[in-house]
Subunit: 417 residues, 2 copies
């Protein structure tokens, strides 16, 4: 069971998390809890570091040494809360269960876990509480696992223990067919495949980070994403099954703040494209989608999108590239991307057509299209983004079948009468 | 160099501590810093724990797991401050230098230190920053060293590294002949022996905890107690030398809040006294002084003092003892203890006489006397405590010779005229 920062933000929430673990244990399970730093702890630590490091970035080893204290505070408090309830417990830092990573500070990768140390405590009837987000190198240096790190810890521990189930407690009810803040008919998805979740995560659905899902897929660990505030079921993330493929589209997503860079009249010889992306990667700019188009003469064209936050940096780099390669560069920083995702697409046809016509009917112009086996994305004008998401969500009846809804409403009205 | 909590309380103080270390290194020394938790951090952690543990004391292992995070935050921030100044640095938790202790959580004792890990970093030109107060068991559990723990770390590290010198940076100028808040003529002592410091510490002089001094004595590590706020020399704590013995009395101290318990008409057979103190120890009551007196008939008498904070508990236990042994018990909870300390006492006579007559002249009644080879203590009424300390301090001319002072004053007055 993993509890994020908001689910262990104070003593009351820590007690609530502990109670949930005890309840699960009483149902006959062995329970491991993975916890994040409490609420604003990480911000506080970052603030302390920035007060000391003014002129340059903090040395990464020391940054990690500082950051891991946040989770260490939580694990001991959770263990205390369990003991207070009369439930034997033991907390573990990454070092204490030899969760060994490589030495890439601030974004380390897990190599091995001493699962037998955890098993031993579980077998003696204890609940084990493990610090998320952290690792330790073979030499004993502290590391952190980067964004979404606590979820990576959750899945890695589950895989190492050969657990039946991962429960990821958060402050939302699960994964939705579309963000309910934008699409009021957005429904919670009961079951979704790893691949769909990976697509959704890369499309900006923030429930679970890609690295955790990749890990879960690799070791086939089912993840139950659910709300720490109540007991209702959330979304199960599992391997794709045949029955899943009957559902053509599982969800829709909108990535709002995108910009496109287009390089035209590129010299058309081998290695040019590789050169361009090598330079971009060197400047740590994350590319969203790449759209290569064929030039009409002896020149090539190349477009790619970046998140708006990276646009300023990307512009500087691309001006340099254009100068060096003597090509032309243009920008569009008012784009959004609307996408549909579903493993069912693999076997069903007509998904693209349905999506394009829904957008066409509303006179929304499609700037670019990118696809994968289980995803179709359309780049559109940002002003039309939210509307497009609602249209697409509707076209695939992701909020439920229209007629049924109408019938239900009629029934309700009848009852009221 | 050890910096206590007030000397690393914020970013500015951390920078100041780092600067001091760099300066010392530039003078050609290898520098290790031992640091405590920042200012109120420990209070904050204790508060968190008490919010979770309401009905019983926190499990000690988890308490230690929580507490050690305080020092870990400081070490990484100090390392960052050094890097910011362009000075290579590396921070170490107890685990990272294998500072192995026994498993007595909250009051562990150091067994071994992997000094070679520290030497390696020092030899490469780095300043090493080590978390005070903490240790790790052979099994990898976190431990803490109890009261004064960071000073124990300082001395243990110095001993392990065979260091030339320990510097203990604090918020006072050093050890004084008497507390200057009570005795305005109290002077800073330039040099004091381990034994004298041990006596003073047990008499309530809070500069350095006994365990640290014992350790320093055992490994003959000189400690320089000095103020982090300026560069003036403080007090050197060293092995006793012959020249020291010329100074008969080095300092005076007042322990204000004491209570005395007297058991009279005790059955006079072997083992009774041992029985009494066994029972008292079982209830974790710290006895200050023991004063056994001889009864006139076939019964024995026994008095001992405790700090006022322990008096309520002591009373309950002693009522039980009196009931069981059918003896009489009486109390006095308005006592203080004034003492003089000095290695010179060993070879000089007349110290007791001088002290008693100073008190007698002021009509201060002496309730009890306890002595060691280098200490004389008088139990007196608390109302007279501060006055007694000033009288004794004066009688041994600890503030400087009277005549000289008078001459100096005269000179000054002359100059002004």
């Amino acid at each position: 069971m993993k509890f994020g920062g908001t689910s262990v933000a104070d003593a009351d929430k820590i007690r609530a998390a502990a109670k949930r673990a005890v309840r699960t244990q009483k149902q006959g399970h062995q329970v491991v809890m993975v916890v994040s730093a409490m609420g604003k702890t990480t911000d506080h630590l970052e603030d302390l570091a920035s007060q000391v490091m003014r002129s340059k970035p903090a040395p990464k080893r020391e940054w990690d040494q500082l950051m891991v204290t946040g989770e260490q505070v939580t694990i001991s408090l959770v263990a205390m809360a369990l003991e207070e309830m009369g439930s034997p417990a033991i907390s573990f830092t990454a070092g204490q269960i030899a969760m060994v990573t490589d030495d890439r500070h601030t974004k380390a990768r897990i190599k091995t876990i001493a699962a037998e140390k955890i098993h031993k405590e579980l077998d003696s009837g204890k609940i084990a509480i493990i610090a998320g987000f952290q690792g330790v190198t073979e030499e004993g240096h502290m590391t952190t696992l980067g964004r979404g790190g606590s979820n990576v810890t959750l899945v890695a521990i589950a895989a190492a223990l050969n657990a039946d189930m991962c429960e990821n407690y958060t402050d939302v009810d699960g994964v939705f067919t579309a963000d309910p803040r934008v699409v009021p008919t957005g429904r919670k998805i009961n079951k979704i495949s790893y691949d769909e979740m990976l697509e959704l995560a890369s499309l900006g659905v923030n429930v679970l980070h890609n690295r955790a899902v990749e890990f879960a897929k690799k070791y086939n660990v089912p993840i139950h994403v659910r709300n720490a505030a109540h007991n209702r079921k959330g979304t199960m993330i599992v391997a794709a099954t045949e029955s899943m493929e009957k559902i053509v589209v599982s969800g829709a997503a909108l990535k709002e703040k995108l910009a496109r860079v287009s390089l035209t009249k590129l010299p058309d010889h081998p290695g040019v494209v590789a050169d361009v992306f090598h330079t971009i990667a060197q400047h740590d700019i994350m590319v969203d989608d790449i759209i290569q188009t064929i030039g009409d003469d002896k020149t090539a064209s190349l477009s790619f999108t970046v998140e708006l936050a990276e646009f300023a940096d990307a512009k500087i780099v691309c001006e340099k590239i254009a100068k060096k390669l003597k090509c032309h560069v243009s920008y569009d920083d008012s784009l959004s991307k609307v996408s549909v995702v579903g493993v069912g697409m693999r076997v069903h046809t007509g998904v693209a057509k349905k999506m394009f016509s829904a957008l066409a009917k509303a006179k929304i112009n499609i700037e670019n299209i990118t696809t994968s086996e289980i995803k179709i994305s359309c780049m559109i004008d940002r002003a039309e983004g939210k509307k497009a998401l609602r249209l697409v969500h509707d076209a695939f009846e992701l909020g439920g079948k229209k007629k049924k809804t109408a019938k239900k409403k009629a029934k309700k009205t009848a009852k009221k009468k």
